[in-house]
Symmetry: C2
């Protein structure tokens, strides 16, 4: 009935190709010391050539000591953020196939795991996240998915992404833009905003207004946009942008980001922008819906660009793609380094612009 998968690559295949024993292959794969650089290279070459991926189940079974790694994330919102789920899938895959066992421990309101774990993956750290100090004090090895001086961390390059978005928009003639984002309190959000805004500054274009929402869902963006649209169309009342706690936002952003009004009339309906950069694809979705419901067309009236390149968001959205697989892979490498007490390092994964149908030249 069921066909056996005889084509499964094993350590034996790799050992054979590399001309070594399976034990050596295993050593190399587990970054174990005591293998000559030459043999190591041979093994890695064989792995590469064969496209070998260790079997997760076998690894788990063999590894007697299970390192459980806890997931520290914002309280109660895990499954509500699709991007996070997507990333998590990659992370679990990487973790599992590197022999580690991800334990999905419940986290308290402070975002820390309620049960003790051998290590931690930290998500969405704030500028002054207390969790980091806590983890350091308790000497729990951890890696931060994000960016932070002096801690082991990895993330997509938000600043570069914001820049790419700005350059794309400017190239299309959108000298007046709006930036819709989550709370700038978050490092990821403020990086993206910083890159975007500074590119506009450097181009000598008016500094984009920043519209923050505390709800990262499409609905959150929709509500914020709709409110903003209503306020703006009256042309008088300035929308109040809620900023994070003082000091957590880069100065260049904190200074009356919302208080500027463009002198020249631009865009449809007297809007002060002709393009929107949303900090995530999901936010972009909400932005587009709000724009559409307000009778504006995308991209002919307003261009919209997102960030992440979530596959589910649709195949029309112009966005900044981040290499989720690479981030996850790096995160796991860093975790191993943490477990082995290697020196701390942070890595930023490059992003790229994906032009699709929601951006167009300014009319």
């Amino acid at each position: 009935m069921v066909v056996t998968d005889s084509s499964r690559l094993t350590v034996h295949d790799v050992a054979m190709v590399a001309g070594v024993s399976i034990a050596t292959v295993s050593r190399v794969l587990n970054h174990r010391p005591g293998v000559s650089p030459a043999t190591r290279a041979k093994v890695l070459a064989a792995v590469e050539r064969l496209g070998y991926r260790p079997d997760r189940a076998a690894r788990e079974l063999s590894n007697r000591r299970h390192v459980t790694v806890g997931l520290c994330t914002a309280y109660g919102h895990r499954r509500l953020i699709p991007f996070f789920m997507l990333f998590l899938e990659h992370l679990m895959e990487e973790l599992a196939s590197s022999g580690l066992r991800l334990k999905d421990v419940p986290t308290g309101r402070d975002g820390l795991p309620l049960e003790p774990t051998d290590a931690c993956m930290l998500f969405g750290a704030h500028a002054d996240d207390p969790r980091i100090a806590d983890l350091q004090k308790r000497k729990v090895p951890f890696v931060l998915i994000g960016r932070r001086e002096g801690v082991r961390c990895v993330a997509a390059d938000g600043v570069a992404g914001g820049r790419l978005a700005a350059e794309h928009l400017l190239r299309l003639g959108h000298t007046n833009a709006l930036h819709v984002t989550g709370e700038l309190f978050s490092q990821a959000m403020s990086d993206r905003a910083a890159g975007f805004v500074s590119a506009y500054d450097e181009a000598g274009a008016p500094r984009p207004r920043v519209l923050e929402t505390d709800d990262l869902s499409a609905l959150g963006a929709y509500r914020a946009m709709t409110r903003d649209l209503a306020t703006r169309s009256h042309g008088t009342h300035l929308h109040h942008v809620h900023m994070g706690p003082a000091g957590t936002v880069p100065d260049r952003l904190a200074m009356n980001a919302s208080a500027r009004t463009t002198a020249e009339p631009s865009g449809a309906r007297g809007l002060d922008y002709t393009a929107v950069f949303a900090a995530t694809d999901e936010l972009a979705n909400g932005v587009i819906a709000a724009l559409t419901d307000a009778g504006l067309r995308v991209p002919s009236d307003v261009s919209v660009i997102g960030f992440d390149d979530m596959p589910e968001i649709g195949d029309e959205l112009t966005t900044i793609r981040q290499d989720i697989a690479a981030v996850a892979k790096t995160a796991v490498e860093l975790l191993h380094e943490a477990l082995n007490g290697a020196p701390v390092r942070g890595v930023r994964v490059p992003v790229s612009l994906v032009v699709r149908g929601t951006t167009a030249e300014r009319r």
Copy 2:
């Protein structure tokens, strides 16, 4: 003799306690034929007494004649539906610990896996889903997460859930209710609606109006509600409810569900309802946001009840809880039955009412 690691219970322990061999234990655990009822009972007793749980990794490794089970779901929306992700987690856990390997094969626009798999888990089947016939024709063992005469299926009892919601609302005096739901084309949605509506019918209360949205997200509900609120407040134009293809919706629902207007003035702002039953918690979230943005208070002006009891949705929502773990567990059992060619059966998992803060007595 093999001395077992004190920390881990194994088949050996069970075999020892039951006074049989490990092979027999394995047979019992895998519902394999050829074990006398007496021995089977002894083994099960031992398992029970020891609290033994088979090791997932070992099972997977040993079961190398992999049965890959594909996931057939709506195209491109997987991660966008939190509830689905939650269910999936349970399902994967069950599948893995029963030795099956869930292969997350990409599905085509028709919802069928693009790569051949040994079996399938089918999600969200429609009344006349072509995928079912296709699977049957190709003789691929499958189980449907949903409800459908004549196929192996399991789901929470939507009809009973709708009923519970109605009874709760009626008990609070809400004789006029609105039902916000996804496309009734979906069996789950129409079951919930049917239970809800028929309970109102039987109570002699006005039949609740049904508001459908093709977007199951909170944003979808928000937009639908907001549009409805705007239309209704003028008190003239009747909102057009889009119904699924003819014949797919129970007659009792299809008949001008939206064409009735209550004679008596009820609720705030001349709304024709004082309570809303949302077909999912996520929809409920959108409904609450829309109500709130329209200046209505929940629950003092309008009561809202959801369905699913998603942990992330917040701890304030009154809802109908479904036992996700039980559904997942049953799904896997059914899949094994399918693999073994056992007779087809369908199971409905009971649901329960969870009263929290979004419902209150009608004023």
